[in-house]
Symmetry: C2
């Protein structure tokens, strides 16, 4: 079991964040139960909860209160889940299947899915503004600023736009890296940075986590591209082979399967080196980095 | 000129907020210029800027710094504009025309419009987190909390969902009021509340502004329903007669034109009474309330 400690912590965090989101996304108080139902459908149907794990783990390494960290993790997961709902829409990636279930617009309808995504996006900031996050409002507002920046036009949303535009213009490796750094990288970087912010980590720790998260963020995407060509829908719980079908440049189309695999390994090695600062306490992050390229979904 | 002072202040605020948003929505630094172009298209094409006016005016009445108030106004307008972009989508209200121009998904495409809306929503919270809003982070986080709540599932998004559901279920006056209090009311209430929060207004002022904003919020919607049956697309800059066509309950279908007009007048009268606390300083808010039912678009 090469990732035993990581998998244990990942499962713990997943269960904790799921329970917290189940409470926060409270159907009984929602004015329109239909949109809340759709928000719950989109947010509570499992998922690895890798981003929440990173928040909680980096908070632990920075000496932060785990209660606040879990709430930040839930806020971040609201952002991640909203982006999946909107990305799956017919006008975007047009996906019917996600984590082995019908996507939100299939289960409900497009209008409800758009609103559920919008609702989750607002909910993230509602959660972050709460006193339980951290006693110092300056820390809370820093988290709001960082999450808004990571999610928006100069972060995830900008990356998603570049990804859609890439279907029309031939892309080289640098363009794909730049796009992925925004599309998936920024939220992963926020996850680690948020843990450090909560714990008031010093600059050396912050720099190490920036380095770590930038490397695993990219490795995560290279691994995703590999999974897209090597796995079946049954294994991944979503449509596979889509990228090759669309003629869109991916790390695999640009580097070949072997080249992409080597590149992912190099990124993971760099991520592992970045965790040296935590000595044996960093073992979970190291296992997480290795898991990213070993996973089957 | 029954609304001279109000119209002057409204025009001033509109120009100021437009200039600020032009700076904040900075194409030169945006990673994906296409989505930023669409955000600018959606946010900088005019509009009355009633919500920004309310923030700035209530901030002035509460003794707040006008610089921070204008930034809160810009954040709120980002939320309002994102909601229009998403509401106009084919899966939602399917509108081609807004303020006399093609809607964002017509000018660009649906995917870009979805992302532009998402980008504006994140941008609102990025603006609110900035130091320029207010020196005290506790005030900034309060504004984040209130705006997130006003925008989300228990606010505007919930109202929009109820509005879509209303097409399938017959609605009475109470249901329409409850829906509109969320859909348009919550942001208008936030506008006034934010001004009071920025100025640290006492509870009497806060209560007066809550009363005022709840009344004008509803009056605004009754007036909109009246405009929908009485105006042409040329006058309003958007499609008219849509509500009657959809068979959806409106204040006009429930109360008749004369009944709706009387109801709007009653709401405006209540709003005007609520501003007594400001004596002559409240004249602009009184004119604003009266303007809401006199406007032609």
């Amino acid at each position: 079991m090469p990732h035993r400690l990581f998998k244990q912590r990942l499962a713990e965090t997943a269960a904790n964040v799921e329970a917290l989101m189940d409470t926060v996304l409270d159907e009984s108080t929602a004015r329109s139960s239909r949109v809340m139902k759709a928000m719950r459908y989109a947010a509570l149907n499992g998922g690895k909860r890798l981003r929440p794990f990173l928040v909680v783990e980096c908070a632990r390494l920075s000496g932060a209160d785990p209660v606040g960290a879990l709430r930040v993790a839930a806020a971040l997961e609201c952002i991640h889940c909203y982006s999946l709902v909107h990305d799956d829409l017919p006008a975007m990636d047009d996906d019917d299947l996600r984590r082995g279930h019908a996507t939100t617009h299939i289960e409900f309808d497009e209008a409800t899915a758009i609103l559920a995504g919008d609702g989750l996006l607002s909910m993230a900031f509602e959660i972050l503004s709460g006193d339980e996050i951290h006693p110092d409002p300056a820390v809370r507002i820093q988290l709001v600023r960082d999450l808004a920046a990571a999610s928006g036009v100069n972060g995830m949303v900008g990356g998603q736009m570049l990804d859609l535009e890439a279907e029309e213009t031939p892309q080289g490796t640098n363009e794909v890296i730049a796009m992925q750094r925004l599309k998936t990288g920024k939220l992963i970087e926020f996850a680690c940075q948020a843990g450090a912010t909560l714990g008031g980590a010093d600059e050396a720790v912050c720099a190490a986590l920036r380095d770590y998260s930038a490397n695993i963020g990219l490795a995560f995407q290279v691994a995703d591209d590999l999974l897209d060509v090597e796995s079946t829908a049954q294994e991944t719980g979503k449509q596979t082979g889509k990228d090759a079908g669309s003629g869109k440049a991916t790390f695999v189309s640009l580097m070949g399967v072997e080249g992409a695999r080597r590149h992912a390994q190099t990124l993971v090695d760099s991520a592992v080196v970045a965790t040296d600062i935590f000595a044996e306490q960093g073992e979970t992050l190291r296992q997480a980095a290795r898991f990213i390229i070993d996973r089957k979904h």
